[in-house]
Symmetry: C2
């Protein structure tokens, strides 16, 4: 059953568009899931994509628009009138609607919001636009079922039915007090089995997980993952229930966070994929390479300072790539462990404890590696003092690299900066420089040149 986007299918769609065979196109696409139609649109020219958006009913196309690549959506929306966009928005849940509108240029936002027919929907969307997109408020939707704790069961069932019509998937029924504050949740089973004269408060379950509007997306993801939740209510600073977040949005958050961290570690500015243009990929990659080049200039300049070595102990230079590589590798390893621990929220205890642990770890690894290097360099240089200098330097470099790799992400995190930038070119480059400096300085001290 798995949908596969074949070249034949694409050609068929394009042929239908060119011959304006609308009924055939409708027939073909109506069988498909909106996520599959979105995949097709991602591959079409913008004119053809707009043709399909205009052809299909707005119930389908609104969902399709949510699933296409962001740059395709941007260009397609540019071709549509404010009224046409508003029609799409009308079909979307408030959270998706707010996401689409937030991507529009400032002046179009107002136009589109004014064109939305359902004024209640428009008001809710405007409320959502206030929140930062990486916060719980930015992720939540307004569609939820809430009942007042003072209602009777009988009165509540009708209210629930009304609200349920607007909600695609009913995850939970939330209980609030007269002020709208979140008080608990209801089990549908309990509602059906309770006597109709009962009050909601009698059967409400007081224990309910929730997040605050200002909590970060990452915190929400950690909470929902930890407690295996499919939806979580969101309250404002006063404890008033203002929305809910569903797991499908959190799955996207988890995936995007992971992709972002991975790209940062690899020295790629976030948000590119393999299908982007050479120009976009260059913009994402070149800045980090320039950083690396600058690092290389620094290493070269540092080595230039030790001109005694260059004349008397040129053999030392055979080992600079080894020293730099080991400094980079150790730094990346130790920073990755810390970055991941911070993301999963299981870094407990202070910075000092971490640094001491990394010190012992680096000493253990360093001892093994330095011993091997001593043997190799003795064989290579046939000079035991030089071999000793080289391997002691490696030992020192590994310790410093491990400590730097541990300290930097912890420091960045304390400062409120995403520690993920510390893994990758940033740490590799600085450790390369530190490594070379330590190597030549220690060698000079030991050998004496």
């Amino acid at each position: 059953m798995a949908f596969e986007l074949t070249n034949e299918l694409l050609e068929q769609v394009i042929a239908h568009i060119e011959k304006k065979e609308n009924s055939k196109l409708n027939e073909l696409l109506s069988e498909m899931h909106h996520a599959d139609i979105a995949e097709i649109l991602d591959e079409l020219s913008f004119d053809n994509a707009v043709y399909i958006i205009r052809l299909l009913d707005s119930e389908t196309t609104s969902e399709v628009l949510m699933d296409v690549d962001e740059d395709v959506r941007e260009k397609v929306l540019q071709q549509l009138s404010a009224k046409e966009i508003a029609e799409e928005i009308d079909e979307l849940d408030t959270d998706d609607a707010a996401d689409v509108i937030s991507e529009l240029p400032e002046e179009r936002k107002q136009e589109v919001i004014q064109e939305i027919e359902d004024k209640e929907h428009a008001k809710e969307i405007v409320e959502l636009l206030r929140y930062d997109e990486d916060s719980a408020g930015g992720l939540m939707g307004k569609e939820l079922i809430k009942v007042n704790e003072n209602w009777s069961i009988l009165g509540c069932i009708n209210k629930m039915r009304e609200q349920a019509e607007e909600v695609t998937r009913v995850h939970s029924i939330y209980v609030v007090d007269d002020d709208g504050k979140l008080k608990g949740r209801l089990s549908l089973k309990d509602v059906l089995m309770a006597s109709t004269t009962c009050k909601i408060a009698d059967i409400a379950i007081p224990r309910v997980d929730f997040v605050e509007v200002n909590d970060s997306a990452e915190d929400v993801a950690n909470t929902m993952r930890k407690y295996d939740l499919e939806a979580i209510p969101v309250v404002d600073e006063l404890g008033i229930l203002v929305g809910r977040i569903t797991i499908d949005d959190i799955v996207d958050v988890i995936k995007e966070e992971a992709d972002k961290d991975y790209q940062m570690a690899a020295g790629i500015t976030q948000d590119v994929d393999s299908d982007d243009s050479i120009w976009e990929l260059t913009k994402a990659r070149l800045p980090w390479l320039l950083l690396g080049l600058l690092g290389g200039f620094s290493s070269a300049s540092i080595m230039g300072l030790f001109d005694g070595a260059l004349t008397n102990y040129p053999m030392l230079f055979l080992f600079t790539p080894l020293i730099a590589a080991m400094a980079g590798n150790v730094g990346v390893q130790s920073s990755a462990i810390i970055v991941q621990g911070l993301a999963n929220d299981d870094i407990k205890g202070g910075v000092t404890k971490r640094l001491i642990k990394e010190l012992f770890l680096a000493m253990l690894n360093g001892l093994v590696l330095a011993t091997l290097l001593f043997l190799f360099s003795l064989f290579k240089t046939e000079n035991s003092v030089m071999a000793l200098a080289i391997s002691i330097s490696l030992f020192a470099v590994i310790i410093v690299a491990g400590l730097v790799g541990t300290f930097i992400p912890l420091f960045l995190d304390k400062r409120g900066i995403d520690p993920a930038i510390a893994t990758g070119p940033f740490i590799t480059t600085s450790n390369d420089i530190f490594g070379i400096l330590i190597y030549f300085w220690l060698s000079k001290t030991i050998i004496g040149f």
Copy 2:
């Protein structure tokens, strides 16, 4: 409301255990979510953890056991009798139960399975143990609601109620034919509104997403993420409905896959975290560092071959760390883009097309970087031929590194090997060696020594 594991709380729990204040302990823990109790257990000694597992009822502890770290679970289960484990298993859904049993030593598995009271449950668990843990079969549970397409609505409602008792969260009602083959799904709303004399087939929705038992966990995750599903049915090779996978398990799969790829890219053997012992962390890190050391030996040996340079053009050696670092950075960037594209299933088109794209990209980046290096090295060496040789080498190195970084993951993927191992020390080390080789060979050719 967010639970936080404080030192005070831990001390309180330990104090209660030491004084054997069971009722106070019960009172304290009964308020907590099982995921929070699991966090506490992760920090306790094994004796204390076992004490709590024995104290609490098996309904709670079975869930707690699912949430503790794998090594804690292993040690706690060692302390429990087969009968005690079977009691925990009895409380778990089949998928969780199978996960726990699969971690036991071979001979204990049999003992525990024989002690399970519910024989139907035991049979289902045994069936699940057959599947690879990274496949749809290994992720699925047997708890689901299925109805026969030939039943009448009236007959089906009772059957559904019976099955629903065993299912914690009802996600979907699946429709099967007489052979048990998946035919569609039911909307609960349609069931409630249909005439009782209708047949199920009349109201079944034929369009239903599903996966096969042998599909990889990653494919299941991609499907559920793409279609925003909260549950997906699993069929066997004959199309017979055999289980269902829920989104909470998939969230864990996505997180684990991402963590694994991130660690591999950083040169850490999978499955360690910052709280593991120094010994475990060394086992995860040292092998990759040894690979790096070996790479360093190779670079040193290669440079040793160009002894003409060492005597006549020692300046060339100032730039080896720069060349090696750039080769590593470019290789990691290009491989990361491919690895991520492969994981998200959006690498379309052949290998050649990718390589040509990377070629142009590398040429563009290489031109910018080589120009800057030419200026810097001209200033540094005051020798235009040498500066030209150095910068042309960098240009060549960047192109080769980009192509290697693109090719290796695509090649590994074709061979069925996880391409993620290509990003990280593996590609950095091989590119270091290639880079140095190209650098000295080209310099020698251009300058002539």
